[in-house]
Structures are given as C-alpha cells and as structure tokens.
Subunit: 73 residues, 2 copies
C-alpha cells in the first residue's frame, strides 16, 4: 500500500464529496450529528477521527465509507 497519509486522503475526500453534494459545513454537521467545528477541523486534516465519526460523516454525506478512503475521486 503506498505510504500516503490516510488523514489527508480522508479530509480531502470528505471536503470534495461535501462540495459535490452542495452541502455547507453547517448542513453536513447537522446531517452527521457532529459539531460544525469538528467538521471544519476534520476537513483541514486536524483530527485523527475514529471509526464511529467516519460512519457519521459517511452517512451525513450519503456515501459509502470506502468512498471516503478512495485514493482519487
């Protein structure tokens, strides 16, 4: 597996998918049940999020968890 940083892959995918879906960070935070600051910190790669947060973000974006770890979108 290429040694790329999972946190930057995850945070970039998360932002791209949110923008693609036309959601604001506020709307995603509401849909995911996570605080808005948590969403913005995570998108900036500042959080080593847990599996449960990953599931909340995936369901808030209505994507599969695998999509959040895709190497290229």
């Amino acid at each position: 597996m290429i040694k790329s940083d999972v946190i930057s892959i995850f945070s970039q995918n998360m932002k791209e998918l949110r923008v693609k879906k036309g959601l604001t960070q506020e709307e995603l935070s509401f849909k995911a049940g996570l605080h808005r600051n948590y969403i913005s910190d995570t998108e900036r790669g500042r959080r080593n999020v847990s599996l449960k947060a990953v599931q909340k973000i995936a369901s808030g974006l209505e994507v599969t968890i695998q999509e959040l770890f895709a190497q290229t979108i």
Copy 2:
C-alpha cells in the same frame, strides 16, 4: 448507506484478512507496530479505532483501507 455497525464490519474484516494471510495476532501486531492486546481487542470489536490505527492495520495486513471496510469479503 445501510445502517450497519462500522466497528463490527471493520473487526470482522480485519480478522478474516489476517487469517487469510496466515498471520497470528502477534505477527500482525509486529508488522503493524501496534500492541498485541490492541490487535485482539480491535478484532473483538472493543475499540473505536482512529484513522492512523486503521492505516497501520491496513499496512500490516498489506491490504487497502477500503478492503477493511468492505461489506462482504
């Protein structure tokens, strides 16, 4: 996305992939750079692991992160 529990999906996939690769928990803990108890707790679904731990487990198993979140193996 079907509301299944990401922790049980992850822990089952992790164990199945480890056994498929013929690795003991000890060998995986060495390859992943994680404590053996951490590996066994995670396989029993007792840990809400972080992204960095997910990356270590994936690289210790020599699989992609997506494989660890596959709904069926």
